[in-house]
Amino acid sequence: MDKATIKKQSRGLLRIAAFLLALLAALYALSATVFSHDAAQRRGNNYVRSFSYENEAPGTVEVVFIGNSDAYSGISPAVLWKNCGYPAVVCGAAHQSPLFSEMLLKKLYRTQSPAVVVLEMDMLFDGQGKAVTSQKARCPDGPLQRLYRLMLPERLEYALETELSVIEFHNEWQRYFIGFREPMKNNHGYYFSKRVGKVDEAPNFMAPTEDRACLSADRLGMLKDTVDLCRRHGSEVMLVALPCVKYWTMARHNTVADFAEEYDLPFVDFNSNEYEDLIDNDTCYRDEGNHLNYTGAKRVTAALGERLRETYGDRLTDCRGNEAYAAWDGRRRHK
């Protein structure tokens, strides 16, 4: 290559680098302003609930609940605070996938160091159909499976979404034309609803069976990756299935129970007979057996709080009365 060509190519390379830097700067600037999580919250975007931990002071969260709409409807951190004094957040959004939850936790660990992470299990089956198998659920964990999981297109997509909110909330631009929703209150990720949608006919969805719900190997692998991530950061992990007459089944319970046994994790299923009397089908659901309302959430959170105290009482701190958590006392009520 002659000198002139080298000079031309070098100039071109500099321009390309400048463009990429400008693009990155613009993306970060947009993520910090128009498309920030705060802005999304002000515009009432439900998906911002996933990032509810950002509203808490660094290092203050003791318990993290992570999952899909079942989680943000069924667990109230304010009630948990009132009953047990554990500062907690729910990081969940509609159809939140286990992979997104894993990416979210990775980001959460930069500012928080929760003692316990509670993984809501309906997210595992979201979009997986109702097929069952007689085979015991096993998590394939060879190097190739790990490589396939590492190379899932969604992994990078979610990593970018959690890093650059302009990507996740890009469609907010439409709100300037069709109007904004009601701003969202900071309920530590909980979705407050007093709406009652009673279950007309309760199916016997927890009848004993040896069946297991079919689950892709990737899904179980993602769950295992999340458990490993939490353990690496010193968090205890609990699996929980929240009441859901519509979609939860005994086969799903069995699949999760297999996993919990394999990885030595506590699994609390609020659909099981043990909690038969906890939920009233006439008053505790907001949409005919799919999601809990506030009445249901209060009961489930109280029971879950007890379980947390029993299982991890030595690791969890009752922070009531602690000056650093004064704001929690002020925000106990939802309204």
Binding site: Q9, I16, P153, I167, H170, W173, F177
Partner: protein
């Protein structure tokens, strides 16, 4: 599978391969492409690489064997007299045909078994009332594309168009190249294969031009196609809930989706190729400016059309049987029809294969034959329509109105073809067509447009504006103006700002994320 418009593909598969490709010396650049291609294929198929490996091995061995036969003849030529040479030539030709026949049959058999076995089972079951079980063979990624490339390579080696490569890695790269393996374009070895083997040095101007094309392709896919898909996919499933006008809009939007997606992805892969200094064959040339369905197919999926012409139509119509048929027809028919009669038989094979190639289902066969019937109708009535136009005083070559009429007629016929192509079976296609005709103005609340399709008012506005932009660019191209050339003439600072703005716009108004249903690449399934 990481589709070509995903972050993973663009940043990691392409980005990683590009960096490696740029760093390696020219002689070894193909190894970077090979590593990238194999990695992409292996991960995307989760190790289901056996069919591609077998195809590569068969094609490599057969091509070398054919080359050896020809080389032996060349070597012995001087020692043979004229008669011996003639005999040897005929024997070698038979040998070449046999090697080609066996290897091409093996290659195509792999395609048939992996893609059409279940279709055959279902057809037998429905015809004879049997209950044969479906096979568990998974369709290998890109099998329809690399099989055609493999057959073309074998044929080109047989007919001396290319020399067989001695380097199996280079052949493997040609067949598994990560930019073309999923959706094409269907390339030929003497074009892309040679480029891949040679490699090209990094060039900033070419890189920027390629990147611009990638952005335009992404715009077509993410802003237009994926938005149109939200409406079209639901309409094709549930058209009976709406009215004929909305169903017709569904067909039009499906056409828009398919074109924007397929041509958009072609722009992405060709742009990525350009960034690496490779020129990939073009697949589209403003197809909706076509005046006939024949012209449409010379502008739409051009590499498939070229392949069928080169490797099916010509070999068939130049075969001895067809020559004889042509002579017989010549004795009985006028010269126009005498030429047309044998061609129409070869064309039947072409269009049957074109339809069948697209998918394992009768609707795809019907889709191919639909175009065959249209073309034959056009060709056989050509003298009549010429006479009618002459009588009406329409100057077919110069009249602008007639030109526009023909474009609109072709557009309508293509949309009808798209209806067959996308409907869930032939019966459903006819139902939808009848529904459009009989329920066109049925009362449907206007609000369904905003409640049923994952689309809001701004989405429809973006769809309209982006379609207008697509048409504007197509008009420019049709007039011989390359928008990228125009863009390149702008001052650097302005280009910089415009490109930055366009990239951000793409990210912001793209139809992806929570508010839209996922859209898979249509042609990746073929």
């Amino acid at each position: 599978m990481a589709s070509y418009n995903s972050f993973l593909f663009l940043l990691l598969y392409f980005g990683g391969t590009f960096v490696l490709y740029s760093l390696l010396p020219k002689k070894y650049k193909y190894l970077a492409l090979l590593a990238g291609s194999w990695f992409y294929y292996f991960i995307s198929t989760r190790g289901n690489v056996w069919a591609l490996a077998v195809t590569t091995a068969v094609v490599y061995g057969a091509a070398l064997w054919m080359d050896a036969v020809k080389a032996r003849f060349k070597k012995d030529k001087a020692t043979l007299d004229k008669d011996q040479r003639k005999l040897r030539k005929a024997a070698d030709r038979r040998k070449l045909s046999l090697i080609f026949g066996v290897s091409a049959t093996l290659t195509v058999a792999l395609l048939l078994v992996t893609k059409y076995a279940n279709f055959a089972v279902e057809t037998v079951n429905s015809l004879f009332g049997t209950a044969l079980a479906n096979t568990r063979i998974a369709q290998p990624l890109g099998v329809s594309f690399y099989t055609l490339e493999a057959v073309s390579y074998l044929y080109d080696v047989k007919t001396d168009r290319v020399r067989a490569t001695k380097n199996p890695l280079k052949l493997s790269l040609f067949l598994s190249f990560f930019l073309t393996v999923v959706e094409g374009p269907i390339a030929r070895y003497d074009d892309l294969g040679v480029q891949l083997g040679e490699g090209a040095r990094f060039d900033c101007d070419r890189f920027v031009r390629g990147a611009e094309r990638v952005l335009w392709g992404l715009f077509k896919k993410v802003v237009l196609a994926d938005r149109a898909a939200q409406y079209a996919s639901l309409m094709f499933t549930d058209f009976q809930k709406y009215n004929g006008a909305m169903a017709l809009l569904g067909v039009l939007l499906y056409t828009l989706q398919l074109y924007s997606e397929f041509s958009g992805i072609m722009d992405v892969v060709c742009g990525c190729g350009e960034m690496m200094g490779l020129t990939l064959p073009e697949n589209f040339r403003q197809p909706f400016f076509s005046q006939s369905v024949g012209e449409f197919w010379s502008r739409w999926h051009m590499t498939l059309g070229a392949w069928l012409k080169e490797y099916v139509f010509y070999p068939l119509s130049l075969s001895k049987g067809f020559q004889k048929l042509s002579e017989k027809a010549g004795a009985r028919l006028t010269p126009y029809y005498a030429g047309l009669a044998p061609a129409s038989i070869a064309m039947f094979a072409v269009w049957f294969l074109c339809g069948f190639w697209h998918g394992a289902g009768w609707k795809y066969v019907a889709y191919g034959l639909y175009y065959y019937v249209l073309m034959m109708l056009g060709s056989y009535t050509e003298p009549l329509s010429k006479r009618v136009c002459d009588k009406l005083g329409i100057r077919r070559e110069t009249s602008k109105w007639f030109h526009v009429f023909r474009i609109l007629r072709t557009f309508a016929l293509v949309n009808l073809g798209m209806l067959i192509f996308n409907a869930a079976g032939l019966r459903k296609a006819f139902k939808m067509l009848a529904f459009i005709g009989t329920n066109f103005f049925r009362a449907v609340p206007g609000k369904v447009l905003l409640t049923d399709f994952n689309l809001r008012v701004p989405d429809y506005v973006v769809l309209a504006l982006a379609t207008a932009a697509l048409i504007a660019v197509s008009v420019m191209r049709e007039r011989g103006v390359d928008p990228r050339d125009r863009f390149a003439r702008l001052p650097f600072a302005l280009r910089f700002v415009l490109l930055l703005f366009f990239t951000l716009l793409l990210i912001i108004i793209g139809a992806y994320g929570h508010d839209y249903g996922p859209v898979d690449l249509i042609y990746a399934n073929f």
